[in-house]
Amino acid sequence: MTGYLRPTSLADAVAARAAHPDWLVLAGGTDLMVNAPHRPVPAGIVDLWGCAELRGIARDGETLRLGAGTTWLDVVQSALVAAHAPILGAAAREIGAPQIQARGTIGGNVATSSPVGDSLPVLLALDATLGLASPRGRRVVPYRDFATGYRTTSLDADELIAAVVVPVPDAATRLSWRKVGTRAAQSISKVMAAAAIHVEDGVIAWARFGLGAVAARPIRAAAAEAAAAGRPADEATARAVADALAGEIRPITDVRSAADYRLEVAQALLVRFVLNAGRS
């Protein structure tokens, strides 16, 4: 039958994980408990829901540090997020519905690493880093290297995600976010895009584009970013960005959407982001 541990500190959590590498690490359950009666009964549960050390949002120098157990509701209600990473708040507000936001956690979203994980393109655009903990110690990895394939990550078998760290963008960085889902709320994404575009005197110094639901994992659109860098934030650049994007993503058709639509909309979103950056 199912074993159960409820660590109350990160150290205990790491120990529990190390002692039971085959147990399910459970936080808010919004993914792992879907259709639970039809899932295999786990050998045990390491329940992180009660681990206060993992939950909370704090300013740490030029970064925001979000504990992995921070819920979307926490993010929605956070003045720090609203001030410094508004697109993360916007993404949180569009995750599921209030019941899901009350339980889903940022660490869970990162660990599950679904291609439709709603915060993940934002973390890419913000160039977030992850704090990982294991009995071997702690390490910091850039989020952009974390998702390795369809629902796979570089998290080691004895590791836990402790925190998500978001650099606070400067005033010249325009942030954009848009989720295109199956309906207005409680929806799964068809296409998501997030952008951080650094504009100086109307010229894009650099851009980071994070995309979701257009590949097996959340991705940065490197070619589109290159097409934007050093160019004015205008129609011609926007078109170049869209063309570059077409060369680097191959979305699929599934029960929720179509490949051609996904590409077209991903292009349209980046075009809009570039134009909006030029206007503001």
Binding site: H38, R183, A185, K190, V255, Y261
Partner: protein
Amino acid sequence: MHTPSGGSVGKSLPRVDGVAKVTGAAHYLDDLVVPRLRHGVTVRSTVAHGTFDGLDLDPAFDWSQITVVTADHLGWGQGLAAGGLGQNHIAMLDTDQPALVPVGGRIKHVDEPLALIAAPTRALALAARAHARPRQTAQPAVLAIDDALRAEVKLYGDDNVFKQFLIRKGHATDDELEAAMAGADRVLEGTYHTGAQEQMYIEPQAMMATLDGGIMRIAGSMQCPYYVHKAMKVLLGCDAEQVVVTQTVTGGGFGGKEEYPSMLAAHCALLAQASGAPVKMVYDRDADIAATTKRHPSRVHHRLGLRADGTIAAIDVDVIFDGGAYLTLSPVVLSRGVLHAAGPYRCDVVRVRGRAVATNHPPHGAFRGFGAPQTTFAYERQLAKAARVLGVAPWDHRDRLALRPGDTTATGQVLERSVGTDDVLRAIREAAGPPPTRDGTNRHGAPVRRGRGHAFYFHGAGFTGSGEQRLAGRATVVARPDGTFEVLASSTDMGQGAITIFTQLAAEALGVPPEQVRVPDPATDHVPDSGPTVASRTCMVVGGLVDRAARTLRLRVEAWADAAGIKGDLATRAAAMIAAMIERGGGDLVGGGVAETVQYEPPPGIHWDDATYTGQAYPCYGWAGCLVDVEVDLDTREVSLLRCVHAVDVGRAINPVIVRGQIEGGTVQALGWAVLESVVYRDGKVANASMTNCIVPTFADVPDLETIIVECPYPYGPSGAKGVGEIPMDGPAAAVANALEDALGVPFDRLPILPEDIARALRPGGGAGGAGGGAA
């Protein structure tokens, strides 16, 4: 307006089951606690077409507590009384659908029931199912209408046609029709497709069976206890008294609990008999979406012959419904589809052809609107295109052509009364306001395009033709010695408010406060057969029976009391009458009270010819107009519904709040069908069988609804009421499509209209599918 005593009709009495529902006290099937209960699950096919070669049970699994049933080794033909069964089919209109595919028998769709498993816990039943593997051999499947019509693979008869209809008005031969069409100045031709739609009642299918002293007791979530009763008699091979079917509080139906509960009841009954214990089956959402009936996908070809002055010279409609693997209710759904296919418009020459074809999809069946939404979509798209090419304002165009008293429908029915055309059109024009600004920008900075669409439609209330006469529904009202009055009818409350409406009608007719009236749960050993809870008939037809039974009872009690010199209110007088009857031996008492049962009597002048499909298709019609404003995000092709104004003629609103709830609920199902709801079939299987992927509208997807109740009383309905349940489903989807064409300038002739479809239509060389008429 309102009679001083009683005075219940026309008021928004809070629903009588309201407090139980908001406190959680209402007990649905899955809430019932039953000793020794076993939980049933279904082993289903995974091929769309093939043979069932046998069931392998994993010998490593502990089967000691498990009951497994396949159609073999059962006592078919021996009858329940002999410990056996009757016939292995679900009795509805035909005998083609088995309760379980027998070993060696033909599998006709994915997720077809092959075997049943019961266990003391649900978890154990699910575990057992994981160790039961059906062997199947696949054959080529028929998954498209044209493949069905080619009939290279035969699923039903020689031609795969379950049923066909032909309606002719104003002509005798196809040549005459073509001549009339040739006489038109312009012919608009279009092909319209609609997809399957899931009812998505929030309470999944749920049923329980107990074999108790030779009597099979069925309880569960259902619309039609006597449909289940009929099916059980055949399945079990028993008399009417050996099966008792009781409806429990039902969490939504919308047609989805019209025929399928008979299948589920059959499965529970088979397991109850085999296991000797009560058996409950509550479907998982995924199984419910995958295996139970949905709205028929359709292809409707429509030719509209227009004269230069804009009037209609001829209408020709060809309707094809994908019936799925078994006949179920498809002929009746098709019937309603073809009877509404010409629309509520004047035209002297009409041909409507209809076919329901067999495919290897899970059977399609009843869903609010029952065939009419599919054909309404086609004719209201055609009307919108006609208005565009003629350059006439949409409401003016419809106003000019719409049926009025004295006009005839496609079946030659002369409309005499309760035609809401003028009142509906006046109401909706008054509410319309200016159209939305065409261009703008939304909160994302994306450009948007807006548009407005219109639709006008009608819906026949009650069973088709002589259906109500054949059905001969009955209802009883009982005066009880405790001073209460009971309404006994088999019509079920599935949320639509039937028991509140019955309470109000009985209270009004009896002249008593509604608190004195009770409507017990329908059980077939306790209530007469009032007919099924379908076809927008519950208030108009069965409510009429309740009204008449109550009036008859009141007159009888008052006559007795007057003669006996008993004064007081009706309850007091009835109690005295009951006491007197008991003194005389009580032989006339029914359930300890005085009862009156009445049977349906048709209004005068109903003539219907089933052979030629001519005459009075319905005793009366509801009429409705819908206006929808849309906004399309040109970056993402997402559609926002800005406004939806819906004016519906219901005859008389017995309970205005309940009527509003019916209209608004139907409206949102229709809006969902238009722009969100999609059942994705892949190789005959529902590929999006989860609530996450098979979506319906949320609170955030619809605008505030502007609902206008129009009342054109129907003299033969109780207090003037006619149907309201289905008509709100018929037209809003066409209004949405018309609004999208108005916004974007390209036709949308296929439902649902998803952002992907809009994107495709707007691409160079795109086109939204279908042969988009003459739209500019």
